[in-house]
């Protein structure tokens, strides 16, 4: 897989841009991939991010940015095709396989990823992570959801409050 790590970017056709994470790591990546972010797209269209400049992303650390770019690089070709009307079933299946594996990660990483996708306005990535979290909620009782999401055990007071709400929201527990 293409490594977003530094390089001198003079390898021909594709325009490269440099992104700088909050911990000052520089990532060089094709402009087309970075442009999956609506926020970055504007800067890039304005000619930003090229040369030695780089676009600083003070809210995204390098571990998260590297993951975000992995997603963008994988999805850039399909996005360039405008949702890929001429993508083959094989391409689509491959993207789906990638997506499923991509979000098979710890909750703390899901958290960082969806925050980054939200801040950078990468719609597809935001939806992908949101769906993953939704799947962690679906088909479970409240206590199971609490366990899955890693809530601390309820205090007796909290438990009483939960019971009272279950009565009030009786519909939801049938």
């Amino acid at each position: 897989m293409a490594a977003p790590e530094s390089g001198d970017g003079n390898n021909g056709a594709a325009r490269m841009v440099t992104l700088i994470s909050s911990d000052n790591t520089r990532f060089e990546v094709e402009a087309a991939a970075a442009s999956l972010s609506q926020t970055l797209q504007l800067t890039i269209l304005d000619g930003g991010g090229g040369g030695g400049d780089g676009i600083p992303l003070p809210n995204v650390d390098s571990a998260t940015l590297s993951k975000v770019l992995e997603y963008c690089i994988k999805h850039a070709p399909a996005a360039a095709n405008g949702g890929a009307p001429n993508a083959t079933a094989v391409d689509r299946a491959e993207l789906e396989r990638f997506d499923n594996e991509f979000v098979n990660i710890d909750q703390s990483v899901l958290y960082s990823l969806i925050m980054a996708a939200h801040n950078l306005e990468i719609e597809g990535l935001q939806s992908l992570v949101a769906k993953k979290v939704a799947d962690m909620i679906k088909g479970k009782s409240p206590m199971e959801i609490r366990r899955t999401l890693g809530f601390p055990d309820p205090t007796p007071e909290e438990q009483a409050e939960m019971n009272a709400h279950m009565l009030e929201y009786g519909w939801a527990y049938e």
Binding site: T148, W171, A172
Partner: protein, 129 residues
């Protein structure tokens, strides 16, 4: 069911997400019963479900619907009343003729901004305008 890697060791970070992201997540949950169920999780989640912008109702998911078809209509009414004017992207109501016959007027008033369209012989689907 769903295999969550590291579940149990993972501390809850999801609750710390900004409201608007929790709204997006709840919209992907979709099923009205499962969405409203999250109200009980904690104080943080209490009113979050109201902002789920996609809701799917299905009468056969309610346990008592065969005994009391009006039960389903009441549930839909109740959810929509709690949501009030909150924006909605998509509303799907799936029910049998039996539930529909039980209180068609109430339901159609509740879903006043929605348009009805028959689908197959048994069900109705309804999308917010």
């Amino acid at each position: 069911m769903d295999d969550v890697s590291g579940a149990g060791e993972d501390l809850d970070r999801i609750s710390a997400l900004p409201d608007e992201l929790l709204h997006v997540i709840l919209s992907f949950v979709g099923d009205a019963q499962e969405v409203t169920r999250t109200a009980v999780l904690s104080r943080r989640w209490r009113r979050m479900w109201v902002h789920a912008s996609t809701l799917k109702f299905s009468d056969h998911r309610l346990k008592n619907w065969t005994m009391d078809p009006g039960h389903f209509a009441s549930f839909v009414d109740w959810v929509l009343a709690h949501r009030g004017e909150t924006a909605m992207d998509s509303l799907t109501i799936w029910m049998t003729q039996k539930s529909r016959a039980a209180s068609p007027a109430r339901l159609e008033i509740s879903a006043r901004s929605a348009c009805w369209r028959t689908e197959r012989s048994q069900g109705l689907r309804c999308f917010a305008a």
